[in-house]
Every structure is written in C-alpha cells, then in structure tokens.
C-alpha cells in the first residue's frame, strides 16, 4: 500500500449529509473484477445525465474544482454498503483526503486499507472549509499526518486532528495488514489448537 504523509491539494465541497456508497459508486459498476479503473464511475449518477452527457451542475464537473484531491463533506459519509469499490473509485479519481464531521464505520475502515486519509473534524470547522472552498478559487489545504496538522494557505484555518496511533503508523509506512498479521502465525496456530466445538467447523 502506498504511504501518506504530507499532502497539499485543492478542496472540493460536497455539502450534503449521509452520502451513501451507492452514490459514490453505483451498483452497475460492481460487476467488474478489477481493483483499478473505477474513477470514471465515481458519483456516476450525479456526474452524468441519463443520456451519458456531463451534468455541468454537479460540483465535481465545475472547472474550478478540476484536479481536486481533498473532498470535504457532511456527516455520516460512506454509509450503507460495505463495497470497497467506493474508496477505490475515490482514489482512482484522485481523492486522497476526505474531511467530514463523521464517517460510516466500514467505509472509514476501507479508506485506511487503500491509502486514503479520512479526517474527522468538528462540524463548525467543516462548515467553514466548505464555505471557503465554495467562495474562493483554488482553495487549498495542507495536511501533515505525522504532526496531525491541517491548515490552509492563509492559515485562517489551522488545527490538529485526531487519528488512532496505529492507523497513523500504518499509513505513514504504507504497511500491509496481512503481512503484519502473518507475523503472528504462532499465535494463530495456538488459538486454532484450542478452538472449542462451538467454534464450529464447516463440514464438506
């Protein structure tokens, strides 16, 4: 997995609450068996009209937000389905940081598996970032994961964010969870040797 530490990028605001993974990546694209190439389907039903033409009203299609890499949005982002296609699509599109007051659990987890940093900030700050990114042209944020700081170029916004220490360590070092767990092979074996009957074994 790629590592993340410092990031500077353009912010795009999606000023809505409860955006679910069905919106992030609609189901018709879940039939693909690849992990890559989902970016063109991101927010598909919002980005494109029924005839396949571009919906110019949708914020991601506005010139001002071209090449954005930081998504800022409302509460409970990523609710619903566990589809990891959602962070794959965001990442493939170029989003590396997502800022929201809160995230749905499975989506939040999935981000870390894919080198996306989801940052939880106070609702008031999120609203402020949303409003700045709407009103200014090319509104950028800087993120330093190691020091857990986030600030804008004018430094009107400059705050520390929280993140579990272990998640931060994994992102900074681009660590692979499976590799880490396989180092505990002896503990897994030990556990298996003592599993009870009601642990349940599937019969063939």
């Amino acid at each position: 997995m790629k590592s993340i530490n410092k990031h500077n990028g353009k912010v795009v605001p999606l000023d809505m609450v409860n955006i679910d993974t069905d919106q992030i990546i609609p189901k018709q694209f879940l039939k693909r068996i690849e992990r890559t190439g989902f970016g063109k389907y991101l927010f598909y039903d919002w980005r494109f009209k029924s005839d396949g033409s571009i919906n110019k009203d949708f914020i991601l299609n506005q010139e001002k937000y071209k090449n954005c890499s930081i998504l800022v949005t409302g509460d409970n982002f990523g609710s619903g389905s566990s589809r990891e296609h959602a962070p794959w699509a965001l990442n493939d599109y170029g989003i590396e940081i997502i800022i929201a007051p809160s995230f749905a659990d499975i989506f939040y987890n999935n981000c870390f598996q894919n080198g996306i940093l989801p940052i939880k900030l106070d609702k008031k700050i999120v609203k402020e970032i949303i409003s700045k990114s709407k009103n200014e042209n090319g509104y950028n944020l800087n993120i330093d994961l190691d020091s857990q700081l986030i600030w804008d170029d004018s430094e009107e916004i400059s705050i520390k964010f929280d993140i579990e220490k272990f998640r931060k360590y994994c992102l900074l070092n681009g660590l692979d969870d499976i590799g880490l767990t396989l180092k505990k092979e002896n503990k897994i074996q030990q556990f298996e040797s003592t599993r009870s009957l009601t642990g349940g074994v599937v019969k063939k």
Binding site: D45, S79, Q113
Partner: protein, 468 residues
Amino acid sequence: MTHNPKTLFDKIWEKHLVDENEGQPSILYVDLHMIHEVTSPQAFEGLRLAQRKVRRPDLTVAVADHAIPTWKGRNTISDPIAKQQVETLTKNCDEFGITLYDMYHENQGIVHVIGPDLGLTQPGKIIVCGDSHTSTNGAFGSFAIGIGTSEVEHVLATQTLRQFKPKTMNIHIEGSLPNGVTAKDLILGIIKHIGISGAVGHAIEYTGDAITNLSMEGRMTVCNMSIEAGGRAGMIAPDNKTINYLENKPFAPKGKDFEIAKKEWLDLRTDVGAKYDTKIIIDSNELEPFVTWGTNPGMVAPITGKIPNPKHTVDEDEKSSISKALEYMGLKPDTKIQDIQIDRVFIGSCTNSRIEDLEAAAAIVKNKKINPNVSAMVVPGSTLVKKIAEEKGLDKIFQDAGFEWREAGCSMCLGMNPDILSPKERCASTSNRNFEGRQGKDGRTHLVSPEMAAAAAISGHFIDIREL
C-alpha cells in the same frame, strides 16, 4: 450477580482474541467466512499476487447471489460482465478449494439467508462476509459483521480479522409489539428513533419482550437492518427458539455434540449488572406499520402519517436533505402516505425473503388479484425457501394473484442483475435500502414489511394492514 458481569458481545469478543496490543486493533479468529461474487474477486487476485493461500477453506463458504438472474429456469447469464464475475468466483473456489453454491445448487441463495438455512450460522461464532448485511446472522447470538474486500483478503489469508473493539449499545424495547406491527416495522421504527448514524461505532444488542417474542425470521429482519442505523453489528441472545431452529439443520452439530453445543449456546447472554456504553429504550407503543418516504432508511413515516414538510424543520442540513429527497421521490410535502400510488412491488432480499415472510405476504394476497396498474414479483431468499414455499403452495397463491414467482437471489434489492426499476417507477419493496438509484437509476423505493407490500400490490397504493 456475577463478579465481573459481561455483555454478550464482550463474551464473544474475548473468546476469539488471538492477540491484542494496546492502541492496536485486536486480532480475532473468524469461525465462518461467507463470500460472494461481488466483493471477493479482487481479494483472490491479491492472494495470488502475494503467493498466499486460503488458510482455512473448510471455514469458508461461497455462494453466487448478487449478479445472477432470477428468471424461471435460469440457465445462463446474459450480461457478459456479470457472467465473468460469477465465473471468476467459480474459478477462485476451484483453485483455493472452497465449497461453492453456484446458481444451480440446491443450497444456493442470498448469502445471509443460506447461513441460517444450512445451520452454518451458530451462536457465539464470529462470522464475516464482504457485505454489510452480514449483521443478519447476529440474530443467533453471533458477532457478525460486514467487511471490505481488503479485509476479505486478510481473512482468506489468516482466518483472522483486525478490529478496533466497537462500543456496545443496548436497544431495549419496552412492551410487546402492537397488533399488525411486524419485525420490519420494529427495525424501521428503531432507525427512525435513533437515526441512520445513531449506532455508528457500536455493536447493538436488542432486548425486551418484543424481541424475544419474535420468530428467528423476525429477529433476522431486525439484525439485518442494524447497519441502516449505522451499527457495526446487531445481536440477540440465543434462547430455546434459536436452539429449535438450528436442531437438525445440515451443518449444525448432531447428537451428543448438539447437546454440548446447546448448553454452551444457552449460556451466551449478557450478565445481570453488565454495562453497555449506550442504552436506548423504545416504547413499543410508538410503533406502527411504517413506510419510508425518502432516500435513506431513516426517512420513515407511519402508515397513518404524512410526508414531512421541510418548512417545519429548523436544521439546515435536514431541511435540504428532505427537499432533495422529495424532489428525487417525486412527492409533495404533507401528502398522506396512504395516497401514494405505486407501480411495482418487490418481495424479497436478505431482509424479508424467508419462508415466514412469504407466508405472511401470501396470506394477504390469497384469492385476490393485484391492482392492474401494478407489476409485482416475489424472489425467495434461497432455493430451499423456494422449495418449501412451493410445497406449501405459496407459489400458486402468488401467481394466481398476478405476482411473478422467481428463482432465489438478491435481485431487485440492489438491481445488479436484470431486475431493476425504470426511471421514476415507484416500488413498495421489502428490501433494506431506499438510496437514490438503489433499485435502478431514478427508481423510487419505499421500504415496507412483506404484509404492507402485499397489501399495496392489491390496492395500488399504501394501505394500513391493521384495517384489512
């Protein structure tokens, strides 16, 4: 009182700890890993690239359910991309030695329906699947959670899962369910009460007479939609109903083993005095048959109610959510729920496609005809459910009324197969999500119980089943 009282969740968590270190996610052993065609191909590809094996193919079961067609006698998949996905599952299961129930197998069905059907789901187990509705299995007193594809790969490779311990939440229902109020209404009422992110970060345990009085099917409906309240998992302590349901199921322990298991299972409950991080009490009297009117499962109104008016909302985020939802749904504020006309009815999905659901719906449509403006379908949750339903003659009741009777699968719950709504079609659906485009681009979904869906199919609009 026990010296160190624990919750049901804590007991299962502790029993499965392989390793724990301060500040790190715990490593938990997984007893049962269910996989399906949509969220597994990339996980197998990852294994291949890293030259890893599936550690416990014997604890892994695969089924094709999401992308397969449900038309009668299905013998091919016409969509080439879906076909490739299903074939990839078959190839991966062959290569890694995993039991697969493909669309021709008698054990095939929706992944969360077949686990219980076959007795693979058992109390005290940790069960995972790359699917958020894995929470369904919690109805048996297991800790069952949906995971992402990277985690699927992790479980395949290590038979363990890394998890930060969720908080615990007790949702206690005071009193028993009023007449005409089903398990589906109960969970919709819970989501209405706590909101769609009300249980984020929590494993929920449901308690109270209204819960214990439910059949296993009803408990599964409740646990299924825990994710729609944001919950990590939903659980109900095992009791004699749980035991009776599992006895003689194909993969449940047999004979003496069953007796030993039974004793352990009945001990799995929250100790008196154990503390939950969050406790919610809901009065069963506030429950009615419910209908969702918007684009998330928290947008719920009683059948006797009206569509809300955003004018009466103070919170700006909520106001714009309501307006956006009503625009998408093609509904006007203050419309009576019973005045909403429907075009389609879908009875199925991992929420409401079990035999009891089909029986309840059949009882309402028996000797009646569906409204001429409505097209309706029943999609049994599993091939086994379909077989039992046919033995009971339910297929005939539905077909005589004008319903289509289909093969088992996820079908129109998420429309990954050909079963989708056309733009602006309005559907009374027994599924779990009414998100924009969920059942088809610009399709309009109203979530209801099987009884309410059946009654709506007959009348052409929503009606109060208590008045039938």
